[in-house]
C-alpha cells in the first residue's frame, strides 16, 4: 500500500467523487447562474422596444421574480438580429467549404508524395498553434494592404474558411491513418478506379471523422471573436462581436438571456448528434 498523503488522509475512494463534483461545479455553476438570472425580473420597468438591447440597465443581484423580458428585448434588437444573421451566413457557408477542402487536403497529405509536402503539412497544422491575434492581424494586413479589398462579409468568410481547414485536416488525417490501406487496394482490384474507390470505400469510411470535424468546425467558426473582430467591416458584425460591444457599454442582464440561448442551442445540437448516432447503431 502506498504511504502517501492520500492514504494517510484516509480519503480512499472518496477522493475521486469529490474531485468530479468539484470539476462539474466549477464548469457548470456559472452557466446555471446565468440561466437562472436570465429570467430575473428587473427591479423597475424596462422599455422593450427601445431598439437597443444593451441600453444600460442596472443588473440586479436580487431575485425579483420570473420575467421573460430580457428575451423579448433580444428579439426586438434589430442590430442583434442582424449580427446573428451575419454569423449564421458566415458559418453555414464557410464550414461546408472548409470541410470539403480540408478533407481533400487530408487525402492528398496521406496518399501522395509531392515536392514541399513536409513544409506544407507542418505550416498547415502549426496555424492551429499561432495566437488568434496574430492570425487576425496578418489577415487584416493581407486584405487591406495586399489585396486592397474592402472589409466585409466576404473577408470574414475567407478568414473563417482559412482557419477552419487545418482543424478539419487534422481530424480527417487522424482517421485516415487508422484506416486499412488494403481496403482501397481491394476496391481497385475488384474493378473500381480511383474515383469510384474514393466514393464507395474511402469516403464512407471517413464519414465519422468528417462528421466529427463538422461538429467541431461549426462552434469554432460561429463563436470566433478575435479573428472576426480584425477582419469584419462596418455592417458585417458577427454575433460575438456584437455581444462584445454590448459588454463595453455595461453588463446588462440581456447578456444572460443571450448566453442561455446560445448554450441551449449547443446542447440541442450535441444531443441531436448523439441521438442520431444511437439511432444509426440500432
Amino acid at each position: 500500500m502506498k504511504r502517501n498523503i492520500f492514504s494517510r488522509l484516509a480519503l480512499g475512494n472518496k477522493l475521486l467523487p469529490i474531485f468530479v463534483i468539484l470539476v462539474f461545479t466549477v464548469t457548470y455553476a456559472p452557466l446555471i447562474v446565468m440561466m437562472i438570472y436570465s429570467f430575473n425580473s428587473p427591479g423597475h420597468d424596462v422599455q422593450i422596444e427601445s431598439g437597443y438591447a444593451h441600453e444600460y440597465v442596472r443588473a440586479s443581484e436580487k431575485w425579483n421574480g420570473f420575467s421573460p423580458v430580457w428575451y423579448k428585448r433580444i428579439l426586438s434588437d434589430k442590430h442583434l438580429l442582424r449580427a446573428l444573421v451575419v454569423s449564421v451566413i458566415v458559418t453555414f457557408t464557410a464550414v461546408p467549404v472548409s470541410i470539403v477542402i480540408g478533407t481533400m487536403t487530408a487525402f492528398a497529405l496521406y496518399r501522395f508524395k509531392f515536392w514541399g509536402k513536409w513544409i506544407f503539412e507542418q505550416t498547415l497544422l502549426s496555424t492551429l498553434l499561432i495566437p488568434e491575434v496574430v492570425i487576425g492581424i496578418s489577415l487584416l494586413l493581407f486584405f487591406v494592404g495586399f489585396l486592397q479589398i474592402k472589409l466585409g462579409i466576404r473577408t470574414i468568410f475567407i478568414s473563417h474558411v482559412a482557419f477552419t481547414i487545418p482543424l478539419v485536416t487534422l481530424v480527417v488525417i487522424a482517421r485516415m491513418q487508422r484506416m486499412d490501406p488494403t481496403l482501397e487496394e481491394a476496391a481497385m482490384d475488384l474493378g473500381a478506379d480511383e474515383i469510384a474507390t474514393f466514393r464507395k470505400v474511402t469516403l464512407p469510411l471517413l464519414m465519422p471523422a468528417i462528421l466529427a470535424a463538422t461538429l467541431l468546425a461549426f462552434p469554432w467558426s460561429f463563436n470566433d471573436f478575435v479573428i472576426s473582430y480584425f477582419v469584419a467591416g462596418p455592417g458585417s458584425t458577427t454575433l460575438p462581436i456584437y455581444i462584445y460591444s454590448m459588454l463595453k457599454v455595461g453588463v446588462s442582464p440581456v447578456v444572460n438571456a443571450l448566453g442561455t440561448v446560445i448554450v441551449m442551442f449547443s446542447i440541442i445540437l450535441v444531443l441531436g448528434a448523439s441521438l442520431m448516432q444511437r439511432l444509426r447503431k440500432s
Binding site: D180, T182, L183, E185, A186, A187, M188, D189, L190, G191, A192, D193, A196, K200, V201, P204, L205
Partner: protein, 361 residues
C-alpha cells in the same frame, strides 16, 4: 496453349531491398500454383506485381498472353484475396460480394443471382445481410473468396489466406479451397510459407528465396528431389550431410562426408571431387541394436543423443560422429520401439541407397 500467367525476367526493388530479383514463371490455365517461401522472400511482392498493385522496374507480366505492365489493377483480369481479407466493414456480405459486379454491365437481377450462387458455393447461405464483423474468421475467409470468384477472373491470387486461422479450421479450409478451385476451374496462385498447404493443394510449386525461384516443379518432384540444400531444408529434410564425391562406379557414387563417413549414394550427374549434399528422410533412417546382423546399403555404429516423444511418433537424434547427427522418426510400426532406446545407447543406424536424395550444394 497460352499460359494463364507469365512473368519474364521481372525485377523490382524498393530502395536497397530487392524483393523480386529476375524471376520468370509460366502458369498453366486452370492449375493450382503455389509460391512457397519464408517470410520476406518476395512472394507477396510477386503476387502484387501480377495483380497490378506494384509495377516492376524491369521485365514483363502477361495475363492470358496479353502484356499487362501498364494496365491498372481495376482493368486486369485477376482478383486478389488479401491476407487480412480486406472485407469492406461498412457493407453487408451481399454488398461485399456484389462490389466488383457493379462495374460490369449487369442488371440488378443478374447481380443478385450471381451473389446467391456464390453464397451457395461457399456455403454461407442465409448470412447475406450480416456485416463482416458479425462473422467468424472462417466465414469471413469464405466471403473474401466469394467476392473475388464471383468476377470469374482468369487468375485468382491468394496471399496466405489461412495464416490467421487455427489449426483445425486451416485443415478444413485447405480442402474447401482446393475443392472450389477444381469446381470453378480458375487458375489459383497461392502464396504461402506453410509447406503442408503447398504440398497438399498444388499442381505446381515454386520455392522462392531472397527474390529468386530456387526450384519449380510438382510437389512430389520438389519434396523427393530437392535441387538445393535450402529447398531440401524447407521441405523438412533435416538429415543433410555435406561432403565430396571420392569415387564413381557404374550405378553408385562414394562420398566422404565432412565428418569422415563413407556413404554410398545412387549415381548422379556430378563428378569426382565435386561437393555435394545428401539428405535422408527421417522416416527412412532405421535403428538396430548395436551387435545385430544387418544387411543394408549404409550402416554405421552410432550413439543415441536424444529421444523426443511427440505422441504418435518419436524423434531420435543420433550422433554419427562428433560433428554430424542424424534424426530418425520412429512410429509404433518401426522395428525398434522408442521405449527401448535410451540416451547414450550404442546402436547401429542405417538406410538404403534408394532413400538418399542428393542435392546440389
Amino acid at each position: 496453349m497460352t499460359p494463364s500467367v507469365q512473368l519474364k525476367n521481372v525485377y523490382k526493388r524498393f530502395g536497397e531491398v530487392v524483393p523480386v530479383d529476375n524471376i520468370s514463371l509460366q502458369i498453366i490455365r486452370g492449375e493450382f500454383f503455389s509460391i512457397l517461401g519464408p517470410s520476406g522472400c518476395g512472394k507477396t511482392t510477386t503476387m502484387r506485381i501480377i495483380g497490378g498493385l506494384e509495377n516492376p522496374d524491369e521485365g514483363d507480366v502477361f495475363i492470358s498472353g496479353k502484356r499487362v505492365n501498364d494496365i491498372p489493377p481495376y482493368k486486369r483480369d485477376c482478383s486478389i484475396v488479401f491476407q487480412n481479407l480486406a472485407l469492406f466493414p461498412h457493407l453487408t456480405v451481399n454488398q461485399n460480394i456484389a462490389f466488383g459486379l457493379q462495374f460490369k454491365d449487369l442488371s440488378k437481377a443478374d447481380i443478385s443471382r450471381s451473389v446467391s450462387e456464390m453464397l451457395d458455393l461457399v456455403e454461407l447461405q442465409g448470412l447475406g445481410e450480416r456485416k463482416p464483423r458479425q462473422l467468424s474468421g472462417g466465414q469471413q475467409q469464405r466471403v473474401a473468396l466469394a467476392r473475388s470468384i464471383v468476377l470469374k477472373p482468369e487468375v485468382l491470387l491468394l496471399d496466405e489466406p489461412l495464416a490467421s486461422l487455427d489449426r483445425k479450421l486451416r485443415d478444413s479450409m485447405r480442402i474447401e479451397i482446393r475443392k472450389i478451385q477444381k469446381e470453378t476451374g480458375i487458375t489459383f496462385i497461392y502464396v504461402t510459407h506453410d509447406l503442408e498447404e503447398a504440398l497438399s493443394m498444388s499442381d505446381h510449386i515454386a520455392v522462392m528465396r531472397d527474390g529468386r525461384f530456387l526450384q519449380i516443379g510438382t510437389p512430389v518432384e520438389i519434396h523427393d528431389h530437392p535441387k538445393t540444400r535450402f529447398v531440401a531444408d524447407f521441405m523438412g529434410a533435416t538429415n543433410i550431410l555435406s561432403g565430396r564425391i571420392v569415387e564413381k562406379t557404374g550405378g553408385s557414387a562414394a562420398i566422404l562426408t565432412e565428418g569422415g563417413l563413407s556413404v554410398t549414394t545412387p549415381a548422379n550427374d556430378r563428378g569426382v571431387d565435386d561437393s555435394i549434399s545428401i539428405s535422408i528422410s527421417p522416416e527412412a533412417v532405421e535403428i538396430r541394436p548395436g551387435k545385430a546382423e544387418w544387411d543394408i546399403d549404409n550402416k554405421f555404429s552410432a550413439r543415441i543423443q536424444e529421444n523426443v516423444y511427440l505422441g504418435d511418433v518419436s524423434e531420435i537424434i543420433i550422433a554419427l560422429n562428433p560433428t554430424e547427427s542424424i534424426k530418425a522418426k520412429l512410429t509404433r510400426h518401426s522395428k525398434m520401439r522408442s521405449s527401448e532406446l535410451k540416451v547414450g545407447d550404442e546402436i547401429q543406424v542405417g538406410w538404403s541407397n534408394a532413400d538418399i536424395n542428393s542435392v546440389a550444394d
